[in-house]
Structures are given as C-alpha cells and as structure tokens.
Symmetry: C2
Subunit: 438 residues, 2 copies
C-alpha cells in the first residue's frame, strides 16, 4: 500500500474518527455479497464448511481482495490467513477479523462479516489516506465452526497455543479425512503466501460479529459492547437400564433407562429458574441438546439413554454449584451405582474483556450510533464462543456485536439489517484505528 | 400316515393322556436344534427374518420333516404352511403351531418352539398309534415378527381376514423389496405344495410359546395358562419448539421442544403407579421407547422432539382413561396450540381366551407338571402379541407359555430350560389330542 501524501499523525481519536467516516456502506455490502457467493444456497443460506473446495475458493478470493487493497498476505501452520497493512513502525499489530467457514447450513454473516468488515477498515484507511502507527492485520481463522472437525475455534486456539495443533491434526471428519490432510492441502494451495509464525505478539484484538441472540434486536439497539463470554461446561449423562419387551415386562421389575433420564432431565430443567430466583446473578443457561436411545424401538423398554448437558453462565462459581446439583440429581435417580454416570467432556472458564478495550469500543459505537440517530450501545455478554475467547489469552481483546434478526443463527434464515452491518463496520474502523495509533 | 392297527377310540381324556405320555424329550430337542441351524449365529442366536433365503430353506426343512411324519402339506396365499394329520372324519381341524421367522437377531425358541412342538405332537400321536376324530394341523405362520415387513402377524391376520393381504403385499423392506414379491418367490418355491384356502373353518387353535417375560421364572412354575392378550395402543407425541443457540438464547425467550417433551414424559410415567393404586385392576404398562431429536446437537436448543408411547392393559376401559390422560398432559404442556400433537397410529383391543379352552389347557398343564414333580400351572396374561391374537377372532383359541430365562427375548440370549420345553410339548399334546377327539 502506498499513501502518496501522508497526513501528519494527529492524535489517535481524530484518526479514529476519520477512519470511521470513510467506511463505505456500498463497498461493504458488495464485499459481503461477493464472499457469500462461495457456497450460496437457493434458500439464501451459505454452505462453506472449513477446508472444503468451496472454502479453499473463498480463501483465494479473500487473498485476491486483500492484495488489491495493498495488503501483504501471510498464512500460519494452522492455515489462518493474515492480511497486513503496514504501520509507520514495525510494532506488534492490531488484529481484527473472524472466520470465513460456516456451519453445514449457515448464513452470510456469521464470521464472514468480521473478516470483510476488517478488510473494509483497510479500504477506509486507504480512502482516508491514513498511515497508522502500528500495522493492522485482518485475520480469517481456520475452522471456527467445528462442525466438520471438532472442536471449533481450532485456528485461533492453535495460534495462541501452538502445541494444540498436533492433536487437532488427527481429528477426522465424517468421511474419514483427517484435519491434518485437509490443512496440508490448503497450505499447498497457498504456496504463493508467506508462512508466518504462530503466537506472534499482537498489540490488541477486536472481533466484530453478529450477536446470534435476541438481546440487541429486543432492545432496538444497533451496536453492543461485549464485556465477556460465558463460561461453559459440557456433560454427558449416561443412564443404563435393562432392555426388555414393552408388553411382557411388568412395571415392578422394569429398569427403564428412559424413565431415569426423564426424571434427571426434569430436575435439571428446574435448576435454571431456581438459580434465577437470586436477584443480580448472571443467568444460568441449560440445554439438553443431544439424545441417544437404544434400542430406540416402539415396543422395547430403553436399555440405554445418553444425553448431553450444555451449561453456561458468566459466573463460574454458579457453574460449580450447577455441576454439583447435576451430579447430586444423577445419584438420586440411579437405581444402582454405575446406573447413571456423568462425564464432563468440555469446559471453558468465563472470559472477561479488559475495561480499557471496552471504553474504546464504547466510544466508537456511541459515535457511530449517534451520527446515525440510533440508540446508544449497550453492554452485553456473549453466550456463544468466538475466536476472541482464545485471543483474550494472548493480548487485550474485545468484541462488538450487531443484531441478529429474531436471534436466529446457524440457519439459512440468519440475517442482519444492512444499516446495522454498516454501523458495526464504522465502530470497528474507529476502534482499530485508535488502537493502531498509540 | 397309516395307523396299521388303530386302537378303539377311547374317551377324549384317555386319548389326551396317551398322547401326552408319548412326547419324546430327545426327539423334541433334536428337532429344535435342527431348525435353529437355519440362521444360527456364533453367539447362539438365530437370524432368520421372514422370506429370506434362510427362511425359505427352513420352510423346505419343515415341509420335509412334516412329510416324514406322514403329514400332507398345504400353503395358502399368504405363504402360511399347514402340516395336516388326517382325522377319522373330515371335520374342521384342530390347529396348533406358531411362526418360524425370527427378529434380525432372535433366539432359537420364539415361534420355532410352537411349530416344532406341534410336529412333536404328531410324532407322539404316531408313536401312540392314536387316530383322532378330527384332523390336526400344525401351522407355521408367515412374518409374525414384523421386523422386515411391518406390521407383524401378517400371516395369521391375513388368514383370518384375507382382505388384509392386498395391503400387506405393497409393504417394502429396507432394501425396497415388496412383501408381495418376496411372498410370490416363496410360493413359487413351494410349487410341490397344495394351495389351500384362507379363512378355512378351524375347530380350535392352541399356540405354545415362550413367555418372553419374567412371570413364570419368578414364580418357579414351568407352565402358564394364558388367559388373554393385553390391549395395546401406540401413540406418537410430537413437540415443536424453536431451534436456537444454546449459548446465546436467554432462558426467558426459549421455546425448548425437549423441555416440553420431558415434562410430558414425566407426567406420563406417573400414570402407571397412579393406576396401580386402584386394587384389583390389571396393570397399566407404559413404554416411551423411540425418540427422535432435531437437530440433536450439544449446543443447539432442540426444535423438534418426537417420542412414542406404548400403552398396554388387559382392561380397554383403563386404556381409554390413560389415553385421555395422555392427551390432557400434552395440552397442558403445549406452549401454543399445535406445539404438541398426539397421533394414535396402532391399537388392538384386548383378547380374552374362552374359559372352556382354559380349562382343557389347565388340566393338560397340571398333569404334565404333577408327573414331573413341578409346581402347578398359573394363569397369566400375555403382554406380547401372538398369532393366536388374530386366531381368537376365528375360532376358540388359547395359549400355553413356558418360562423365559431372565424374561429375555428378541435377543441371542433368549433361553428356556429343556425340561420346561418338554413339559410345554406334553401339555400341548394333551390339549390338541383332547380337542381333536370331540
């Protein structure tokens, strides 16, 4: 990128405002539509799972777009793509971006919006002729969704802690393809891109994302300052009974795994309202999402039932209490030792973004909203994971949310108003420009 | 069959006793082992689904065995095989038998025992040189199990009401083969067997079967007089909610299909003990056996949950009340009209076997048990369907049960003591000989 006639470096806030004012609504909308064409479905959704041929084509498109904006492009060992706009000094860069992969059936904005708004920030800086103190990098993380290869956020978590990559490489998809194979193919396809190290120092990280929940829409507020990400714990509850004939087995001698599972589930559903009865505590969210019943036959008493518990709260101590309650409920409904087992198979402590980052974002959001005659930003927490969750372990990090219509996500019906998408990109431009100027 | 020197026709009871005393334990055991070799598995189970190549080979084996005993063989339009020992007069025959098909993984005795014990009765009559007044026919019904082509008991229900056959012929198995095609192949393979009419008059029908439940074993009684078959109703309960992100969706705005399903299920499980609180009423049996959850993902609130309710009782009025309670529970837990729907997709009224038949069977069982120094027979009801359920619509019908170890059935581990199998065949010989002598 060449800035023909660089303006004097004004104070950070003035630079931020000029960057914000140069964000182009039409340019952003065109760029979102262009990326959505990779995997676009007839129902308006997007199918672009990580490292598929569609995703590789989208990656090439992003590389071309970034180079057209004057960026240099780097890729790390986990296939994360970095689009770099140099700064006046070779300091640790300010990082923004998100992911370009989708769920098997996803929408146009989950992830893609954060990447393309990052490139729009670079376009705005170019248009404003701004040279920032620090470099700015827009990242497109590999496999945030985790639908093809679990877990999700492989790219960002491996960037922060590269030792994780070795384990990820062995994960196979439903067709038996290992993540490592798919990754090597993507790296080979990016032979013209410079390899950059993992875990490089970053000055700060800001991720712009759709909310994927109903809070902002319900409040009629276009921009949200994300203060943190809920803690989460995932459990597998396994109930073992005795498979037997539904017609011939008297009730008194039954050992019905589904009856035990239902009794446990009923007690679990009672935990959240009981927790909510304590005023001022962050909400406890409980989801019993995946069930497996064997032999799953109309006229056979279930011998084995497994279900998952997804438990979230911003307060980890509340999750400690909920986990203890879950274990007690399972013991209470077990007809014999080992008849009900509880396994915690994933957990993540809450993420709290630093107040200094929140202040910058809040000013950025407030100015964009005010200029548009919209309501001022609100603070909210993220119920979903994001790549920013792992980056928060690496550098000062925060997030900006825009509303999701009906709170719908991971669905072809996912949608956000164009005006809100534009305000989000404006808030991001302000934030990134200010952070890169100090 | 030729009886070289027929004895004078004594009274029916004396004939019955002589028939009973000529049942051969070793012959029966050998015959059971021989049929089990068709589809025998390494784990001791038998895989012989209806009208498969294995089943066709087993049918040919049965035809050969019956002919060796002097029987004529007939086949009807539904592939039911009839092995006939003539009587002194050409009266409607006494029918016994069961089915030779198995579940995908079944045992050696479910069905097969009733057919082979029927052939053993003929062998015993031959050995005793008895000529009965009426013909005796041993039947092997087509597709009792219903696992390959649903519903079960196609052969016996079509025999009783031939109009059912047209509908059955269109049912396809998982490979897309229609029952009609498989049946025609079996009929073609039996070109040397006389076609006999459906719905022929029968004087009486007795089916000997393993209990498939724990009652006789629990009481340490070798023989059970089956008084009837429970009524059954099958329902599909469908709960519709809104699929949403487990992390981002506040509890207050959720519409969780699984939470509704669990609440309904919990109330349903409470019905059976409440029903049992009324002394003297037959037991209400409730099974919630088959569940389907969408999208069935750890971190997505279920948008759709379907489960089945198998409801059985000997008292149809009790099922009326239970069905009304089910519908009321579903209305109570529906967050909106149409959010929970209940569909009854199968039902059968209770079968009560006639007392005259039960008396004969009771005498038969008592004499066999007493001679063996075992406990006297008990009366019990069948929780499972049997071909006898349909035959009861056609002629005086009843059943005899022998114990199932651990109550286990539809499983390779299905088993019954050889001594009990022998006593069951003795009881059958007595019953059939007496019924055929009057």
């Amino acid at each position: 990128m060449t800035v023909s006639n660089p303006p004097p470096l004004a104070n950070a806030q003035a630079i931020a405002e000029r960057a914000q004012d140069h964000v182009g609504a039409g340019r952003l909308a065109a760029s979102l539509a262009a990326l959505a064409s990779f995997g676009l479905r007839h129902d308006g959704g997007v199918s672009r799972e990580t490292l598929t041929a569609t995703d590789l084509a989208a990656r090439r498109h992003l590389i071309d777009q970034a180079r057209a904006l004057g960026c240099t492009v780097g890729i790390d060992d986990c296939g994360n793509l970095f689009f770099r706009r140099p700064g006046r000094e070779d300091l640790p860069p300010v990082l923004t971006g998100s992911h370009a992969d989708t769920q098997p059936v996803g929408g146009k904005y989950d992830g893609a919006y954060g990447v393309l708004a990052g490139l729009e920030v670079i376009a705005a800086l170019n248009a404003a002729g701004i040279e920032t103190l620090r470099p700015i990098e827009v990242v497109s993380w590999t496999n945030e969704e985790g639908s093809r290869f679990g877990p999700g956020a492989m790219g960002s978590s491996a960037f922060v802690e590269p030792a994780r990559l070795a384990g990820y490489r062995d994960v196979a998809d439903a067709a038996g393809i290992r993540f490592g194979e798919a990754l090597d193919a993507a790296l080979a396809e990016s032979h013209d891109v410079t390899r950059v190290p993992m875990a490089r120092p970053m000055a700060a990280c800001v991720e712009l994302h759709i909310e994927q929940g109903p809070v902002l829409e319900g409040a009629n507020v276009p921009l949200g300052v994300v203060t943190g990400i809920q803690a989460v714990r995932w459990f597998r509850v396994e109930c073992t009974g005795t498979m037997a004939h539904a017609g011939t087995t008297p009730m008194a001698v039954r050992c019905d795994a589904m009856a035990a599972a239902v009794a446990i589930a009923q007690d679990l559903y009672a935990l959240a309202p009981r927790h909510a009865a304590t005023p001022g505590t962050p909400e406890l969210r409980l989801t019993l999402g995946r069930w497996s019943v064997a032999p799953n036959s109309v006229n056979t008493i279930p011998g084995h039932v497994t279900f998952t518990v997804d438990m979230r709260c911003l307060d980890d101590a509340a999750l400690d209490r909920a986990e203890a309650a879950l274990r007690a409920v399972c013991v209470r409904h077990a007809h014999a030792p080992e008849a009900v087992t509880v396994t915690r198979f994933f957990h993540r402590e809450p993420t709290h973004f630093p107040e200094a980052m929140l202040g910058t974002i809040e000013r950025a959001c407030a100015r964009a909203s005010r200029n548009a005659g919209r309501a001022l930003p609100v603070r909210l927490t993220s119920g979903a994971f994001h790549d920013a969750m792992y980056l928060a372990d690496h550098c000062p990090t925060a997030m900006i949310f825009v509303p999701s219509k009906g709170g719908i996500s991971h669905n072809a019906a996912e949608d956000t108003e164009g005006a809100d998408l534009f305000l989000g990109a404006q808030a991001l431009a302000y934030t990134v420009a200010e952070l890169a100027s100090r």
